[in-house]
């Protein structure tokens, strides 16, 4: 009885989800793929014939350099997020339930403000006449203001600030599942704190680390407005190049090809994740 009554609801939900994915995910992406194989046109943005010139241009050392530098900036961002997020998530999971709820709430509150606005707020902090410099000078720690704005460091600070929650949340969920008995067992069997961490905690939280890295690494390469506002409008990230192709250079096929490069990079990461998961799973089942 119950099953029959659930069926229409289930169908409706599935239809909604599939419809959503088809219209808002698949169709736009197909448009991007389609655009990327067309030719740039001064009058109407895109034109026939179909070709792979845009992809060939991606191999230009210039763009390869931008991509690699972008990857470097994103990697530093991810590492910073991991170094801050890992202990944070661990500490969070050790608190009492009400406190956890409160802290998670505080973690999410910034999302209520547009990230562009928050980036401008960071600019006020980092500026030469900004709060940090004024405070440091006021305290007599420095005589001359530090140049922090319009540097790569400023961009990384901005990226870490915006993306940190995406690292903490998946880590928090794996730490939540980390059973204390396992740590106690490890101690009982004579392992010290460090060996317990390396052999028990790290492997068990690895899926959270991988999920967090994926949620931070790719977006970090695309957040062009952070590089524009805090980095002085240079091509620091792949996102800047993509934005310039669409808005300034009006080379839509190339912009589309560059964004597909990011999508493919994401797909490769997901695949790597899948593979590593399988291997981890095998490793656990063997003994």
């Amino acid at each position: 009885m119950l099953k029959v009554r659930q069926q229409p609801f289930k169908t409706a939900v599935l239809a909604l989800v599939w419809g959503w994915l088809l219209v808002l995910v698949l169709a736009p992406n197909l448009l991007v793929v389609g655009t990327s194989v067309l030719t740039r046109d001064a009058g109407s943005f895109i034109a026939l014939p179909v070709n792979l010139d845009s992809y060939r241009r991606l191999l230009d050392p210039l763009y390869l350099d931008v991509f690699l530098h972008s990857l470097y900036m994103a990697s530093v961002t991810t590492l910073c997020c991991l170094l801050i997020g890992y202990p944070f998530a661990w500490a969070l999971s050790r608190l009492t339930k009400p406190r956890q709820t409160l802290l998670i709430f505080l973690l999410i509150v910034p999302f209520w403000t547009n990230s562009l606005v928050r980036t401008y707020a960071l600019k006020l902090l980092l500026a030469t006449n900004g709060l940090i410099n004024n405070a440091l000078i006021g305290l007599g720690l420095i005589d001359e203001p530090l140049q922090m704005l319009y540097t790569e460091g400023a961009v990384i600070v901005g990226l870490v600030y915006l993306l940190l929650p995406f690292m903490i949340l998946p880590l928090y969920s794996v730490f939540e599942d980390l059973r204390r008995e396992l740590l106690m067992a490890s101690h009982d069997l004579g392992a010290g704190k460090l060996p317990t961490f390396i052999h028990v905690v790290v492997p068990l939280t690895l899926p959270g680390v991988i999920a967090g890295v994926m949620l931070v690494l790719l977006p970090a390469m695309g957040l062009f407005f952070v590089a524009d506002i805090l980095g002085g409008s240079r091509n620091l990230l792949v996102g800047n190049v993509i934005k310039n192709q669409f808005l300034d250079a009006r080379d839509w096929p190339f912009g589309a090809a560059a964004s597909i490069l990011l999508t493919v990079a994401m797909a490769v990461l997901l695949l790597a994740h899948k593979l590593s998961e399988r291997r981890l799973g095998n490793g656990e089942s063997k003994p």
Partner: protein
């Protein structure tokens, strides 16, 4: 994001004005900080036409948007620079201006109308003209002799230089320093300008075309490029901000009102142009935002302090070597674009 929100607003207001009794709406698409609010308020008060004001920060962005939204007719008026007027005119994106509906056209400076970019001004009416020159903070660069674009390359300005985030303008500087025309279409010259500009890049702290005065006011940069109106506005907040006409020649431009082909409210667009051409309104705009009005009748109404401000109204000597920007064609634009990408990706 702000622009997206505004576009949404535009869409909402557009759908809301189909009935004839509804208040009329004029969708004006203009450069950021390029029209005093007072002008919009007074126009609305007088005509009852509500002005929906949306902004852009580059000709390229404006063009892309107008082109994309051409059929949905989101804008009734836009304000491109000369070389985009000719581009858009040739691509058939513009509606002809009905001169019989415009009052005050005859008061425009003769040397600014009937130019090659739009013969007989069939599609455009000049709004403001201005220059892109050198700015420096005389408080931070005490006793500095800043007279030429080439001064930006000096070692002592390392890390304090600001450039506009405008491909044509930045290359104009590079080309002029080498003695070429700022409107060069010669790939060899453009490449040479690129090589020259790469030497400047380590000194460049930021690119800014949102509000080029801000990095100076914020203390981030001490020397660099600026639009003259921004220099005038900036000087009100920071008296030590000086505007200089560089020896190699200042970059000059003229922005004009155009009506997109599919504009919904062509009549209101004409009325707005006439309104702005009134001497007292043109004078108010020039005094408020610091750019020069092409309206000769308005110039007579200007305060002495405004009319004699060399930053807004250059002398003949200031304009020696000055060059107006012209359309360089799509082929040259692609060459510029390639080197611009390389320049901004360099470290």
């Amino acid at each position: 994001m702000k622009k997206l929100a505004l576009a949404g607003l535009v869409a909402v207001t557009l759908t809301g004005c189909s009935g004839s009794d509804e208040p009329q709406v004029l969708n004006l698409y203009n450069w950021s900080e390029y029209m005093p609010q007072e002008v919009l308020d007074r126009f609305q008060e007088e005509t009852g036409i509500q002005v929906v004001y949306t902004t852009y920060d580059s000709n390229e962005a404006m063009y892309a948007r107008l082109k994309l939204l051409d059929d949905s007719a989101q804008y009734d008026l836009a304000v491109p620079s000369t070389y985009y007027v000719s581009k858009m005119r040739q691509e058939g994106l513009l509606a002809e201006i009905d001169r019989s509906k415009i009052e005050g056209f005859d008061k425009l400076a003769p040397d600014l109308v009937n130019q090659a970019f739009d013969p007989d001004n069939a599609y455009s009416v000049p709004y403001l003209w201005g220059t892109t020159g050198l700015a420096y903070d005389s408080a931070d660069l005490d006793g500095a002799e800043v007279t030429a674009w080439a001064d930006l390359w000096k070692d002592e300005y390392q890390g304090t230089v600001m450039l506009t985030n405008d491909m044509r303008e930045v290359f104009h500087v590079g080309l002029r320093v080498l003695g070429y025309s700022g409107n060069s279409t010669n790939p060899v010259e453009i490449e040479a300008a690129y090589n020259k500009l790469t030497e400047l890049m380590p000194s460049v702290r930021t690119f800014n075309s949102d509000a080029p005065r801000m990095p100076y006011l914020e203390g981030e940069t001490d020397i660099g490029m600026i639009w003259n109106g921004e220099a005038v506005m900036g000087k009100e907040d920071m008296p030590s901000l000086e505007y200089v006409y560089p020896e190699e020649g200042v970059i000059a431009w003229l922005d004009s009102f155009v009506i997109p082909k599919n504009a919904k409210n062509v009549d209101a667009a004409h009325r707005f142009i006439s309104f702005v051409l009134r001497p007292e309104i043109s004078a108010l705009i020039s005094a408020d935002i610091g750019y020069a009005t092409p309206n000769l009748a308005a110039r007579e109404l200007l305060d002495e302090s405004v009319a004699s401000d060399r930053a807004s109204y250059p002398t003949e000597a200031d304009m020696v070597n000055a060059e107006f920007q012209t359309d360089v064609g799509d082929e040259a634009m692609q060459v510029y674009t390639k080197y611009w990408e390389m320049l901004k990706s360099g470290r």
